[in-house]
Amino acid sequence: MNAQATTVSQSHSKAGFGIAVFAALIGLAIVSITGHVQASTLHDAAHDVRHATGFPCH
C-alpha cells in the first residue's frame, strides 16, 4: 500500500470512529429518555416497559 492510500484509509477510519461514537451517543440518549428520565409523563407512559426491562423505576 503506498503512502497516499495509507493516509486515505487512516482518515477514513478516524471519520468512521467519530461517526460510530456519534451514533452510540444518540442510542444512549434514546435509552436514557425512554428508560430513565423521571419526568412523570414519561415515567407513566414507559412504566411497564421500565419494570419489564429491568431498569430502576420509581
Binding site: 451514533a23 411497564d48 416497559v49 419494570h51
Partner: protein, 233 residues
Amino acid sequence: MFTRILTSALFAGAAAGLITALLQLYFVQPVLLHAELYEGGDLVHFGSSSTVSAHQDVSGFEAVRDGLSVVFTMLVYSGYAMVLVALMSQAEERGATINGRTGLMWGVAGFVAVHFAPGFSLAPEVPGVAAADVGDRQIWWFATVLTATLAMWLIAFGKSWTAWGAAAILLLAPHVIGAPEPAVFTGPVPTEIGAHFAARAFGVGMVAWVLLGCLAGYFWQREGTGSANGQAA
C-alpha cells in the same frame, strides 16, 4: 456510514422491539398486573390465615397502556441497536466478521452487559417492592452496564491474560462494591410473584437481545453489500 448504522439499527431495533413487546405483554405483563393488586392494597396476603387465591384474573388488553408499552419497547431496543451497531462497525474495521450468525454472540454479550449484569445485584423489580433511592440505583445501573460492556469487549477482542483479568475485575467490581439497597423491607407483594417476575423479565430480555444481535448483524451486512454494489456501479 452513518446512514448504514442508522438504517441497520432502526430495522433491527424495531423488529426485535416489536417481538419483545409482544412477549412482554404475554409473559411479563400479567405478573406485573398481579403484583399491582398487592401494591395498591386490593389484595393482602400476609398471615397464616391468608386465603387469597394465587390465581387472579388479570387478563385483558388495555389499548392505551399496552400500546404505549409497545412503542416504548421499540424505542428502547432501537436505542440499544444504535449502540450495538456502532460497536459492530468498529469491530469490523478491526477485522471482525459481522453477520447474522456472529450477531447471535453479540446479542448474548449484550444481554449479559445490559440486562444480566445489573440484574445480578439489582433484580428486575416488580411494582410494590421496597427499593433504595431511584437516583442512586440509576447511577449504579449505568456504571455497571458501562463496566460490563467494557468487560465483554475485552473478553471478545482481548489477546492477553491482562485483558481477560481486567474484564473479570470489571465484571466483579460493581457487585463487590454492592448495589444501593433499601434500609428496610416494606414490600406488600408476595415473594413468589417477585421471583416469577424477575425470571420472566430475564427470559424475555435474553430473547430480545439474541434477536437484536442477530438482526443487527444481518442488516449491517446486508446494508454494506448494497452500498458496496452501489459504489462499484
